[in-house]
């Protein structure tokens, strides 16, 4: 029994090495056909990559924008710092609050002067006043997580408008900014959804192009497949080398795609950083392994599946 098992395993191993070898031989004997398939797959991978990068950049820009949105609460000029710090601590305890920045009266004045230093009328009238007319305030950033929603802002604003703070709080600026915040929230939601749909649609199109290229390659082998069947090869013995060939397309395409990506980033990353708040080459370096393995995964799955399904119809002799 054990001896028979050994023989069977040996036979399977022999078949496997033969299948892999013959797939490799097919790949390099049909250089031009292989080259075309690989190039089409490189294009597929690159278009999927560029979509991912566009998504990355747009998400980054959106989150930058979101970070710029805050609620300011202005305190009455007679409120003491101790009271204001108490409000700040209460706010920090809220789950909706990401962070709180305290701006004192003096700080507010300095910021005001800095902002309007080109406007002599304003600074002069400020000097004439003598006293600091500005109030202390808290800048609150909301914890909106990934799905940028206005709920967090609303509950923070409601919290600040409670009765116990009535004596301290001059005004909460959320109500004035409500429109703008809502609009931005809507835009970012739509942009995210549209980006996702676009990515999926384009990725499907690119995959179909690659699939059809491999199908045409297999179509050119249909007579050979019939011959192999008539000579008595089992379906897996016929399919194997073609699967290996498809996977090889994927592997080579992934390699080329990563090389092209590296070159493009070396050339353009600094230019992109100049106009957008993102360092693509740093991101690429940090995620190199996962990017590389995604390329291989997509390439191998696309190549393997394409040849598997492309060849299926010719195996029914």
């Amino acid at each position: 029994m054990r001896k028979e098992e050994n023989i069977l395993i040996k036979k399977m191993y022999k078949s496997l090495t033969r299948v892999i070898k013959s797939g490799w031989v097919n790949f390099y004997r049909n250089k031009w056909l292989s080259l075309t398939s690989v190039l089409i797959m490189v294009l597929t991978l690159l278009s999927i990559n560029s979509l991912l990068f566009v998504n990355l950049v747009s998400n980054k820009i959106l989150s930058e924008l979101q970070n710029k949105i805050d609620i300011s609460v202005y305190f009455k000029s007679d409120s003491s710092e101790t009271d204001i710090f108490k409000v700040r601590d209460d706010l920090i305890a809220l789950s909706e609050v990401k962070n709180v920045e305290y701006i004192s009266k003096d700080q507010a004045l300095e910021n005001f002067k800095e902002r309007h230093k080109d406007n002599p009328v304003l600074t002069e009238s400020l000097d004439e006043l003598g006293d600091n007319p500005l109030t202390a305030s808290l800048n609150i950033k909301a914890n909106t997580a990934d799905n940028f929603e206005t709920k967090a802002f609303e509950s923070i604003a409601a919290f600040l408008e409670q009765d116990s703070y009535k004596l301290l709080v001059e005004k909460v600026n959320y109500n004035q900014n409500k429109e703008a915040i809502n609009k931005l929230s809507l835009i970012s939601q739509v942009a995210k959804r549209a980006g996702l749909i676009l990515t999926i649609v384009l990725a499907v199109i690119a995959s179909l192009v690659a699939f059809n290229t491999i199908r045409l390659t297999m179509y050119s082998w249909r007579d050979e497949i019939t011959v192999m069947r008539l000579v008595g090869a089992t379906n897996w013995y016929i399919r194997g080398p073609f699967l290996v060939e498809g996977i090889l397309y994927g592997v080579f395409a992934a390699l080329v795609a990563v090389i092209v990506l590296t070159i493009l980033l070396l050339l353009f990353s600094s230019k992109i950083s100049a106009i957008m708040p993102i360092d693509l080459s740093a991101y690429f370096k940090a995620h190199f392994l996962s990017i590389l393995s995604i390329q291989f995964l997509i390439g191998v799955i696309l190549g393997g599946f394409s040849s598997f399904f492309a060849i299926r119809r010719y195996l029914k002799v």
Partner: protein, 226 residues
């Protein structure tokens, strides 16, 4: 050994390719299947290798009912039969050696054994010096000899030849026919389908004539006059 029992094959419910064929072919026999093109010779052979199923009737190979064979077991049937075609059907991206070796590799035979057998059979067809040539580097006659070598390599019980000389000149034709004769003498059943009158009349073997899907004559040492 081979038995056709009331076999009919009808395409698209209308066109009758074969009608009520009853045939017995004994082991080690050499049979010529004669008849004009379109008479149903190729259909008959395709039924034998289960490339097609009969509409009616049964095809037996020894104790095996070919039509009841599941597609999973088809490769094992095809390894019992060697097939030769008019258009050779060699694998274009494999060289002569690999084409022949392929038929053995599918069995999982050792490389050493394959090498020995392939060179033996190449010697039999007289092409041992063309082992590394690809099909496009070979002449028609050479291609057919490689195809015969491939059909022979796993020592099949039957060789089926469908118009093997259809694309060859008369010198090559006789080389191929003599080769088939030699194979038959070594103990393999040969079924040769052809419409070449000279070949049939000079062979002086059993001749089955098919016309319009029916067997019109079947005689030992027969002639094909048409």
């Amino acid at each position: 050994m081979i038995r056709f029992k009331d076999v009919s094959k009808i395409y698209n419910h209308r066109s009758i390719a074969l009608e009520d064929i009853n045939l017995r072919i004994k082991s080690k026999e050499f049979v010529c299947l004669a008849g004009p093109s379109g008479a149903g010779k190729t259909t008959l052979l395709r039924l034998l290798i289960a490339e097609e199923c009969p509409t009616k009737g049964e095809v037996w190979l020894g104790k095996l009912n070919i039509n009841k064979l599941r597609s999973k077991h088809m490769p094992y049937l095809r390894r019992r039969i060697g097939m030769i075609f008019q258009d050779f059907k060699l694998l274009s991206n494999k060289n002569a050696y690999e084409n022949i070796a392929f038929a053995m590799e599918v069995w999982g035979v050792d490389d050493k054994e394959i090498k020995k057998d392939v060179f033996q059979v190449l010697e039999l067809v007289g092409l041992q010096d063309k082992a590394d040539h690809f099909p496009y580097q070979l002449s028609g006659g050479e291609k057919q000899r490689i195809a015969i070598a491939r059909a022979l390599i796993h020592r099949p019980e039957i060789i089926i030849a469908d118009e093997p000389t259809g694309n060859l000149d008369s010198v090559n034709t006789w080389e191929i026919i003599n080769l088939l004769n030699k194979i038959n003498e070594l103990g393999t059943t040969v079924v040769l389908a052809t419409h070449d009158r000279d070949v049939i009349n000079n062979l002086k073997k059993r001749v089955i004539v098919i016309e319009k899907g029916k067997v019109v004559s079947d005689e030992e040492g027969g002639k094909y006059i048409n």
